[in-house]
């Protein structure tokens, strides 16, 4: 036991669904030593006023993110495909319900 380090636990990211049927949204993070503790800490920290109907906790180091410094061009492929947007199309005058 003495070789166990005194830490505050690992970082977990918390995602909450505020109403049934809505998407889960990132709410913040918590420290915990295992998944049970993570979900209990997240409940106590983020849903004290009935904010939650569903909850995910994910170890922060399991999240893969785009690096904003080196991947500025990452989202570029979408830029030249304006025909993916409905406003690209010319419709005859008087078209309704479209």
């Amino acid at each position: 036991m003495s070789e166990v380090k005194d830490t505050q636990g690992q970082l977990w990211e918390v995602f909450i669904q505020t109403k049934k049927g809505l998407p889960f949204k990132h709410f913040g993070s918590v420290h915990a030593f295992d998944k049970e503790m993570a979900i209990q800490n997240a409940r106590d920290l983020y849903t004290r006023r009935g904010e939650g109907k569903g909850m995910w906790v994910v170890p922060a180091d399991a999240i893969v993110a785009v690096d904003p410094n080196n991947d500025a061009s990452f989202f570029e492929p979408a830029d030249d495909k304006i025909y993916r947007h409905p406003t690209f199309y010319e419709l005859p005058d008087g078209t309704k319900n479209m």
């Binding site: 036991m1 166990v4 380090k5 005194d6 830490t7 505050q8 636990g9 970082l11 913040g28 993070s29 918590v30 420290h31 030593f33 295992d34 503790m37 106590d44 920290l45 004290r48 006023r49 993110a65 690096d67 904003p68 410094n69």
Partner: protein, 309 residues
Amino acid sequence: MGAEELDVLFQERIDANDKIEPRDSMPEEYRKHLIRQMSQHAHSEVIGMQPEGNWITRAPSLRAKKILLAKVQDEAGHGLYLYSATETLGISREELIEKLHQGKAKYASIFNYPALTWADMGAIGWLVDGAAITNQVSLQRTSYGPYARAMVKICKEESFHQRQGYEIMASMANGTAEQKEMAQDALNRFWWPSLMMFGPHDSDSPRTGNAMKWKIKREFNDVLRKRFIDKTVSQAELIGLTIPDKDLKWNEENNSYDFGQIDWDEFWSVVKGGGPCNVKRLKHHKKAHQEGEWVRKAAAAYAQKHSSK
């Protein structure tokens, strides 16, 4: 890209009201400024639990006790939101706590004043949380994304804190003569320290320049202080209490109150450790942290054992 060029690009983003996110490039001084300010803010929430925690076992009714428990739990939560937000700048929770224990990181001086009577629970909620809200509403627009988001969450919850405090003050002010006297005494003791919570005059605040340039701070200390006074005076009048400032006077021309001199010697003395409870607050935090060490170690050992199965 050279450092100067990066600084120019960074300032352009700030000027365009872009939010800065954890992995974005930022000047080292911006990062340092945020770590100092945000950790001080986090420590304030946590140390702020002490004066109120002191009254949980002595609350005058079960209703009052439940409310106070919920409020102190909220303060712990606010501390955690802010610690997490500070950690996104690349500093660990352990380091943050160590800096507090070494006296390298500060917390709000207001918590170095004692909570002597039940009326102080009212004064703290009404005035201390009221001043904190005034400041935090402004910080919802701070340039660092995680800090701004933490402020939005905190502001939503703080309004309950202020109302519960004002309710205590109102019921005591309308109670027996003795109760009213206690309420007035609490207001007398907490009024000036609450005004000091906004910090020194901007002309005496060496870091204001950078903080405004980088939009970490969005409004000046003196502006926020004035806003707090303007909205609080009529709340005191409504419940028949008197603000302890003989120079307080409505100024028709400025559409705002003129008020007396703040005792800045007292402010600086408390900041430097000379307040009534500085030693006690830090000692208690260290003790609680040390006494929790075996719990953290046991939890780590348990998690380790179960993950290796």
